[in-house]
């Protein structure tokens, strides 16, 4: 569960209403950063392949992901037969087709879980920073409580009590990951709420929601995007850890995590089975990390100097 801890430094809050210049500026920097661009392209490819799993299974491979073939188990990868490009597993299923479907599951869990985390974190963080008072105290107490319980411990209890399908798994993991973003959002909101443009908005009678949404949130957004990237990776890793323990996505629904776990049990018989899921997970997280890095560099001018 190598979930990256929250970034230790404060991104200096951007000093004005988000002007057009900031984003196009950032975008320019992104475009000209080769590793980030490459990572982005790779990630897009992975997502596209996974999304097109149905299409590919039909047209290219001609086999579904649950079709077992007990007479062709543990096949080595061969080039002539597309469905056996990565070989077949212990039940004769096509490894490559399963890998594509598993990509769907794992990427979905990562993305959805991160979305849940971000939403909860931003809502709680900004509102806590804005309203302060008892609400702030409550949120802080909630944060310190949940952050004191080891993540996997909680997930195990949850996995113990409920049968988890991809959606609920994503929600649960997401519900445990909002702490970092919440703290940062809260910190930012503190700094921002005293700034002139916020005070100005409040004077003219803008509702708190409007202020938070239009003035505070856009300034939190850059940070949010960066953390989201890292979060998706962390969630995919968490899912694979859970699969190893037996609490993750249950077969026959394939996920990269449970495919990897399954493959390790047949390591001596069919070592090639670990390559697919192993590479997939590592590659995805690498890309996410690089993109996150690139984004952070692009969005925070202060760091560019140090690099």
């Amino acid at each position: 569960m190598a979930q990256a801890p929250a970034l230790p430094m404060d991104l200096a809050p951007v000093e004005r209403r988000v002007a057009a210049g900031f984003w196009s500026d950032a975008f320019w920097r992104l475009r000209h950063d080769p590793p980030t661009v490459a990572a982005f392209a790779m990630l897009l490819l992975l997502v596209a392949l996974s999304a097109g799993a149905d299409l590919l299974a039909d047209r290219v491979f001609g086999i579904s992901y649950i079709k077992q073939d007990l007479f062709n188990t543990y096949r080595k990868p061969i080039l002539e037969q597309p469905s056996w490009w990565l070989g077949s597993d212990n039940l004769g299923r096509s490894e490559i087709v399963r890998l594509l479907y598993a990509g769907r599951v794992s990427l979905f869990i990562g993305a959805f879980g991160a979305a849940v985390s971000m939403t909860v974190g931003v809502v709680l963080g900004i509102s806590a920073g804005y309203f302060r008072g008892w609400w702030d105290d409550l949120v802080v107490w909630l944060v310190s409580t949940v952050s004191s319980v080891p993540r996997l411990f909680l997930l195990i209890i949850v996995g113990l009590l409920f049968r988890l399908d991809p959606l609920s798994l994503a929600v649960f993991i997401g519900l445990l990951g909002w702490l970092g973003i919440s703290n940062l959002a809260r910190g930012q909101t503190f700094a921002l709420r005293e700034r002139e443009f916020v005070l100005a908005a409040r004077t003219i009678g803008a509702t708190p929601v409007r202020v938070m949404l239009r003035h505070v949130f856009p300034n939190v957004l850059p940070l949010l995007i960066v953390i989201a990237m890292i979060d998706v990776g962390a969630i995919i890793l968490a899912e694979s850890g859970l699969s190893y323990l037996g609490f993750g996505i249950q077969p026959p629904v394939p996920s990269w995590g449970n495919m990897l776990t399954g493959a390790t049990q047949f390591l001596s018989r069919a070592p090639w089975l670990v390559y697919g899921p192993g590479f997939a997970i590592t590659l995805t997280i690498l890309c996410l990390y690089l993109i996150g890095d690139g984004l952070r560099d692009a969005l925070d001018p202060r760091l560019r100097g140090a690099k």
Binding site: Q68, L70, T73, Q265, P271, Y275, F279
Partner: protein, 563 residues
Amino acid sequence: MRRFVVAFAVSLFVAVACAPAPAAPVSVADKPVAGGRIVDGFTSDIKTLQPVLSSDTASSGVWNLIYYSLTRNDPDTGEVVGQLAEKYELSSDGLTLTYTLRDNVTWSDGTPFTGEDYKYTAEAVMRSKKTIRKGTFDNVVGAKDYADGKTDGIAGITTGAGGKTVTIKFSKVFCPAVNQMGGAGAGGIIPKHKFTQYWDSKTTDTAKNIDDNPMNMEPAVATGPFIFKEYKPGDHVTLVRNEKFFRGAPLISEYYVKFYADSTAVTNALKVGEVTWTGVDPKDYEELSKLDTLRGFRFPSFSNGYIGWNPSNAKAPWLASRDVRQALWYGLDTKTIIDKVLFGLGKQVYANTLPTMWAYDDSGLNKYGYDVKKAKELLEKAGAKMGSDGVYRWTDGQPIKMKIETNSDSNTRTTILQIAQEQYAQIGVKIDPLLESFPALTERTRFSKPDWEGVILGISYGTDPDPYGVWHSSQATATGLNRVGWNKGDQLITQQRDGPDCSQAARKRIIHEHDVLLNQEAPWTFLYNADNLVFSTKPLQGFEPKPFSAGSLWNIEKWWLKT
């Protein structure tokens, strides 16, 4: 940077596939030497070291070495021969069984082993609230009265000649007597002189029993080859040599049982020599056979694998229909499962009696060859109608959808579950798989529990083919093994159990009738009788598995380690 990344990752994965195991050195001496430690790898922790309470194979695997019984099965022929007893004699009317104990048998503390120990064990069984072994004494005079608290001892069990003989009187003939009485029901005889401080069997107070006392986890003395030394929960059990063992002190000085997280960890331990001998999964057999640091053994076993169907679950009313259960049997390609999941290391079975038992007779049994068409016909005959989504609808309109569960730590069973799911989808039955830990699974799928529908499990039998322990209606309890509540065989079961004709021929005939009934009614989809696959490291000498030898331990006192 990307190149570095890819290269690094690739080399990491490639390293996994290569590199053969190094060979272990073997020296030349051939004379047995004393000393050394044998390590046995278990994948499940023990629950108790009290034979009376024991019902799992992990626990019995340990106390089997501590508490012996009066008789055992001859390793080669399976015949019942004397162990702690020198001989036994069943009267011609089958109502009296007399054991004559050996002369030189003592407990490891020097106290003589007598018939009083046997009687005490039997009484402990009858008063225990947690045992599943009471059935052994059904026909013994006075056993039930004692259990009810009417007497202060089992009248039908008496000792004589200063404790050197034990006589058991039956009210009715009990055919498996010779096979089952030797262990006083519990399978191992416990020391009266030690346990009596916790529970005095001479009492009519049924509230007291042997169930809760510390010696259940810490045996003080032994009649077996090893004495208990220490137990570290979750980690290991240590046993040390019993110098007073009646067949002569074992050569090995320490027997160490180590608990591992899963079977992969055990096979790893075997490969590096941390474990001296252990049973392995079929999927590892081939790979381990290739290593020259290990010796592999394959021999028939007395255990099976089956899918049990719960006919009393209101949410799955179709399971009460025989046609449906037969359809489920036809709809599973058991033969291919044995070939591919067991890698051919087992035989298909069609009823309760195993090919390794003397009563085996598969004539007249339906072999239920894989036939999708026939399965669907049977389902339709029972009233099912195919729905638009490819799943049959039962007569009440519900889709035929149910759970099959099994224990997550058995690779074999979880694979079979996945295959079953896929193959049953072909016959229009939707299966939801469920994995549990073994202790939780066995509790969830008892007869009285309402929530389970199908379960993949296995039974480990003794050598006697008596189906009582699993199939008699009295075993359909909260702790019994008759999970599906089978009650159609009571008459036949009692007949082969109570005689009066206890000859093998007669019993074989009756047992076969019962098998035919099981085969037709299909309360279980009987799957396989898997072979025992055992590996030992090369230094272990004297290790010679035999089919009737209860885990190859028949000559454990003669094992030694070549250094």
